[in-house]
Symmetry: C2
Subunit: 318 residues, 2 copies
């Protein structure tokens, strides 16, 4: 019986500007690599493959918490050891914790003969996200597990909808400043104006329709956020320069990836996506802030089992 | 030159439960019939074809205000006379004012050789809606003009998106109590909880995806409203009985049509739609409230020019 599997757990861009806590997409790069091993005893062990320290108690770890939730559904002497090679930087806003929590349970499920459905796997992974952000949110987990673009229509009960998406190119810049998901949640207002909310759900409807109609102009017009971006963008130096100059360079639109500080932009062509990357490099070039950029695609598969080590696709790590 | 045209202006169901102020659909029945006549002088005249009194000043009338807005774009001695045969009851929540305001300008535009685009026509019609409800909202005007299901992504600038829709059957009950659009707006909270708004835009995304995927179950699950329905339903006697029993009878879901008091339900088959109609009749049968019911379809054409008088399709007017 196969008792070890190697998986590739890609980064994800949550929110997609207007769809706070509901929309997300999976990208080809960056991604984590994880080995998951089946144990013949009741244990969950999480190890860093890069030599970093990891919380000893599995319940304090994103991968550990999701594996514990899965293990809860199993009887007998069965456990898991997971070794994580982290390439998606924690705190980047690129779904690093979702990759760990969802990757671990997708791998474990593979070793169990895919006993659980993708929806059940997402339920387990939510426990890992709660460790990371204090809230059960599935907007990174869903695209990580299902691939492509996903809508989390509801968390209780969990209802994940795959949104057919056109070929788009994604440019990401990760300015390496610290923005913790917990902090970026607490600065949001608990109450919002109804008239702002109406604009927001008009845009969510427009963005979903734009993806499904392959209408790039509509996608661009719908990438508007009147509620979260005005607050969170204050935490990201040069956000507005990046956004404005990327759009001037031909990007359809974009904004904060997840809770930031990464910024993503969508483009219709790879050529434009690379011009946008150049814009991002120029904006941050003299800022004194370290940063990475990625030019990547929508990853339609999500987390997948791999056999051989795969070279990372990050176009540049400064 | 053709100087008179007869048009059919159908009813519309705005909001579609979760999409307050943005979603709407056009139905086959009921509909108004209007004659629009080109005048060779600077005048706008609105007349009731049914003998009812109409505000003398055109700016105080929904059809008149939209015609004035259109006339503003024209030079010289040109005017319009419109005669309205009203079958969509004012105050029913079925887009009676939108039928008048949009119907008048669609007819006038036809006489002008379709000089204006549908988007421009919708802009003119917004002036009529403002007379009726105090607010420029396009969620009835858009489906009336474009037909089918529409999303008003934005009002300023006006951005109307047609949402490809499956064949669905619509059952409507209009309990004849008075709910004025202005009143039903003022009782809404100006501020809402962010977490409720997130649920709402999850549902708007789900509903748009459900329509475009022809996924009836998803459409049903997405017909949820945590913000407007809890408030407005208090104005509609027996609302919850109608909703609960219609769903128990097989309806996918539904809720308040526009600002009410009409209630609509979507069904996958005509057979179910007729069972739902029977349920509605039973609920209101002993209520002492007069009511109409309609079993109808999505009208993909919207307002259209007709040559001969058409018999109304209302399945019953008690």
């Amino acid at each position: 019986m196969l008792n070890t599997v190697k998986i590739k757990a890609p980064a994800t861009v949550a929110n997609l500007v207007c769809g706070f806590d509901v929309l997300g997409l999976c990208v080809d790069a960056p991604f984590d690599v994880m080995e998951i091993q089946l144990l013949d005893r009741r244990a969950v062990i999480v190890v860093s493959g890069d030599g970093f320290s990891v919380p000893i108690k599995p319940e304090d770890n994103t991968a550990g918490a999701s594996l514990l939730a899965l293990q809860d559904q199993l009887e007998g002497p069965i456990g898991f050891k997971v070794t994580i090679h982290k390439h998606i930087r924690p705190g980047s806003g690129l779904g690093s914790s979702a990759a760990s929590s969802a990757g671990a349970v997708v791998g474990a499920n593979y070793l169990l003969g895919n006993k659980f459905t993708k929806n059940e796997i997402a339920q387990f992974a939510l426990h890992g996200e709660k460790v990371a952000s204090g809230v059960k949110h599935a907007d990174n987990i869903a695209p990580a597990i299902f691939g492509g673009i996903t809508l989390v229509r509801s968390i209780f009960p969990l209802d994940i909808i795959s949104i057919p998406a056109p070929d788009l190119f994604i440019t990401i810049v990760h300015p390496q400043i610290e923005v913790r998901t917990k902090d970026s949640r607490t600065i949001l207002q608990k109450e919002i104006l109804l008239r702002q909310a109406v604009k927001q759900w008009g845009n969510v409807g427009g963005l979903v329709a734009g993806f499904m109609k392959n209408d790039h102009e509509l996608i661009g017009r719908s990438l508007e956020d009147f509620i979260v971006e005005p607050v969170r963008s204050t935490l990201i130096p040069r956000f507005h320069e990046v956004k404005q100059q990327s759009k001037a360079a031909g990007a359809l639109g974009g904004g904060i990836s997840g809770s930031g500080p990464s910024i993503f932009m969508l483009s219709s062509t790879e050529r434009t996506a690379r011009v946008v990357e150049a814009v991002m490099k120029e904006v941050y070039g003299d800022s004194g802030i370290e940063f990475n950029t990625y030019v990547t695609n929508i990853n339609q598969k999500g987390i997948e089992v791999i056999d051989a080590p795969i070279k990372q696709q990050a176009s540049e790590i400064l």
